[in-house]
Amino acid sequence: MKEFLMVALGVLIFVVIFQIAKASEYVSVLKGEEKTRKQNNRINAFILLGFLVVGLFGAWYCNELYYGKTLFPQGSASVEGEKIDEMMLITIAVTGLVFVITQVLLFWFAYKYQESDNRKAFYFAHSTKLELIWTTIPAIVLAVLVVFGLRVWFKMTGDAPKDAIVVEVTGHQFGWEYRYPGADKVLGKKDYKLTTTTNSLGVDFNDPASLDDIHVSTTMHIPVGVPIKMVINAQDVIHDVGLSHFRIKMDAVPGIPTTQWFTPKITTADMRAKTGNPNFTYEISCDQMCGAGHFSMRGVIIVETMEEYRKWLAEQKPEYFTVFPDKAPKPIITDTVAVKQTAQLLPAKK
């Protein structure tokens, strides 16, 4: 019923507009088309000016409403992201200035030079000097932006520091898996053809480096203040590791591993205090369309102190023992070095 009324209302508005439109055409014939045209001209010129004023006010009002909801007030959660925020503010300042100047000129000229019987258009076909000015100035400004931008870009996409903690991130429809290299700091080899329901990442357990690797799903733990190097894979289609709080994105492409590193600088607990939001969570959003569940492909990152991280890591059981439960030592040895030594004594079997 409500829908029916809405449609009826819409049709009614249409009919009214149409009748007004038709009537105004007749009126213009009666009044004289030239006179109507000039009247329309004045009205539209005035609305153009009004649109400029209201529009600029609207842009300010929109900023008031939504600036607080962007990620700027809370700041970047990674050290490298600070540079991006800085770059963003410079770009906003430059483009904002150009935006205001050009929009004001556009609508002001439109209003000021509306048709008038007292004025003749000024013949002004070109001016090399003016054109050189507005070729050179944008070129210089853009060159500056490019230089600043590329410095940040090369820093962020360059090699990760040697002491970075490596975490392998794997995307699949529709979730995230993480693998930590264990005490030997080397991730075991993988071959996608080894994938089974239990060995879901296709880890090659004949590779001794794989025996102490830890595999967790959905939630990734990382320590604060240390560079984290993500090695990113996808199993089925292209995904994207989107870490908006850390100002980072990197695609996960099947068959072509990618890497991206960053240094988290605020723990989850500190960020909850800082934002005043007790539910604050660092989330991994998939930022590359990956199928019907794309919007639900959520991962969680817990940034914690080094002690908390070490404790958490020590509690994790190597994947080898979940894939081959009969090989698991009893009781579970939580010391990671011992786990590795034990694991190496056991022959890998598939």
Partner: protein
């Protein structure tokens, strides 16, 4: 002079020199269906484009229901879409199909075929002084291949597994594997076949436009006297002819991967519990092939709007376009750069950072010719005597939107910022403003300006003004706040944000945007109504040159027949922008240069 005319006449009419005779043996089929008259083909493109625009626009309204009211159900959605909206709520698969088809339809079927197809066909022969295209037959084929592509794409909407749903960019492996998404089943094959037909259409059209412009200009119409519309359509055609074949090859390889077991784009894949045998392919290869077209495509959409706006701004400011040669030069620069920036869509694919830096540099370089264009448009308005016809308002709106959307390109083209903004609503806002809405404004400007030439009647002014004001205000209300969603990291192509702590706070804004989108869509229907109503009932055009314009199309009769000029084709003596020169309001191109006239 007459030798040119006769030659063209022979081409067009298969031996009949005079176009008067021609009318006698025209049938309904040859006049309205399989017409070889460029003006009729233009109208066919325009009307088909309008139909597609309604469908594509409607899809966006439907998926905005989901974004605006994610917690509500609408039983009538189930009445219309059946199991795709079971319980009155769109299924995610269907949501993604709508998003994909909205993009595909508007980018290709409306803003490429509907825009270029209409105005290149209509304006090129009329503005350069030719009786028709170089090959009217290929021109007719161009429309009918487009029609065929339309039929195939339309039919894909009705297959059981749904139309393509992997985004209009159809990245494999998602688009290559039926197991990855229901839209990647038969719907995707139909999408690819339809696009292949579409590309054939656009190549036939493009080759024709280039040939016509290079060879069939009337006497005196040197390249540097051509109106900017023709220049922009020329560069558009060159871009299309050079880039569309690359997409075609990419699409064919994708068809092979889908159906013949090849591994161009596939490697190391485990999907739905199955280990695929494909090895050694590269999913990234497709993105290179796609964006090698995809980026020029943006300018294929934008350049005609630029050209038409330039023409309309000059005519209605009653002033020469400022810096004609700079305008042509910047079009040329944009066309060249369009081929050298495609990888800026791929900054986060793991692209070599050093290679990426070149794409940053070249991308931001595009801002220079763009800035030249903007300042030249502003200077064209300066000290003019401006008439706000509906076409003029849309041309001014185009400039405003081009500024707004162009400036955000400076953010996205800078790869460091793209690391944060990539695939967020900031991108949605950017390309909708600069390429979507701005090009639509160029198209509307063109329709309002040349409607009298197309149909011999005017569109209703009152409806036109309502259309303009609601559309420009609505477009800004829809897309401006989306920048803030993007700055908050909100990803595009999300069906629902309810489970996200980081993104769920924009619910109220999304509802507002959806509401505005519906109003704006309704006003487009008002335009469509005005369009069809005015074809039959609009106020009749009484003078051959209602806008006081200089270009040649206004030297034809009010309703030109096939062949355009009943007598000889006029000779051209000057550029297209002699407004306000020597105390005269305007001097058409076919007026000889007077002895006392100042040269410039």
């Amino acid at each position: 002079m007459s030798s040119v005319a006769t030659l063209h006449g022979a081409d067009v009419h298969g031996g009949h020199d005079s176009h008067h005779e021609h009318h006698h043996h025209e049938t309904f089929i040859s006049k309205y269906v399989f017409s070889q008259d460029h003006k009729m083909i233009a109208r066919q493109f325009l009307i088909t484009g309008i139909i597609w625009a309604i469908i594509g626009g409607l899809f966006s309204v439907v998926f905005r229901f989901q974004l605006g009211y994610p917690d509500s159900t609408f039983p009538w959605l189930e009445d219309i879409f059946g199991h795709w909206a079971a319980g009155g709520k769109l299924k995610p698969e269907f949501y993604y199909a709508l998003v994909t088809m909205h993009g595909t339809i508007l980018v290709f079927f409306v803003l490429t075929a509907g825009l270029s197809g209409t105005f290149a066909n209509f304006l090129i022969p009329l503005q350069i002084g030719a009786r028709d295209m170089a090959s009217p037959f290929l021109n007719m084929l161009s429309y009918w291949f487009f029609f065929l592509a339309s039929v195939i794409m339309f039919s894909s909407l009705f297959v059981q597994t749904g139309p393509a749903s992997g985004g209009w960019t159809i990245y494999p492996p998602l688009s290559a594997l039926g197991d990855a998404s229901s839209g990647s089943k038969i719907g995707m094959d139909l999408w690819l076949v339809s696009m292949a037909m579409f590309i054939v259409s656009s190549l036939l059209g493009g080759l024709n436009y280039i040939t016509t412009i290079l060879n069939m200009r009337t006497k005196g119409m040197s390249m540097t006297r051509m109106p900017l519309t023709v220049w922009s359509l020329f560069f558009t055609a060159v871009l299309g002819v050079l880039s569309f074949p690359v997409l075609l090859s990419g699409a064919i390889l994708l068809l092979f991967d889908r159906n013949l077991g090849t591994s161009f784009y596939l490697s190391d894949i485990v999907i739905a519990g199955k280990i695929l045998p494909n090895e050694g392919g590269s999913a990234i290869l497709f993105q290179h092939l796609f964006w090698f077209l995809g980026h020029p495509e943006v300018y294929i959409i934008l350049l005609p709007a630029m050209g038409m706006s330039s023409e309309i701004l000059a005519t209605n400011s009653r002033k020469p376009i400022f810096g004609y040669m700079a305008m042509v030069g910047s079009l040329f620069a944009i066309a060249i750069l369009a081929f050298l920036v495609w990888a800026h869509h791929m900054f986060v694919t793991g692209l070599n950072p050093f290679l990426g830096s070149f794409f940053v540099l070249l991308t931001l370089l595009i801002a220079v010719p763009s800035a030249i264009k903007v300042f030249n448009w502003l200077t064209t308005l300066w000290r003019g005597n401006i008439r706000f016809t509906p076409g003029m308002l849309f041309a001014i709106g185009f400039v405003s939107l081009f500024i707004s959307g162009g400036l955000t390109g400076i953010f996205l083209g800078n790869s460091a910022l793209d690391l944060h903004l990539h695939d967020t609503y900031f991108v949605v806002a950017h390309f909708h403003i600069v390429m979507g809405v701005a090009s639509f404004f160029g198209m509307f400007a063109g329709v309002y300006h040349w409607f009298p030439k197309m149909f011999g009647r005017y569109l209703n002014n009152t409806m036109a003004y309502i259309h303009f004001w609601v559309t420009i205000i609505g477009a800004y209300l829809i897309f401006w706040p989306m920048h803030y969603e993007g700055l908050a990291g909100m990803p595009r192509r999300y069906y629902d944000f309810a489970n996200w702590e980081s993104f769920k706070m924009f619910g109220g804004l999304n509802e507002f945007i959806s509401l505005v989108a519906m109003i704006v869509f309704a006003v487009q229907l008002l335009f469509v109504f005005n369009f069809f109503y005015s074809i039959f009932k609009g106020r009749k055009v009484t003078s051959t040159n209602p806008w006081g314009s200089n270009t040649l199309e206004w030297t034809t009769p009010i309703k030109p027949g096939h062949g355009n000029w009943p007598g000889e084709i006029p000779e051209v003596y000057r550029g297209a922008y002699d407004y306000a020169k020597d105390g005269k309001e305007f001097i058409p191109q076919n007026v000889p240069v007077g002895a006392d006239e100042t040269s410039h």
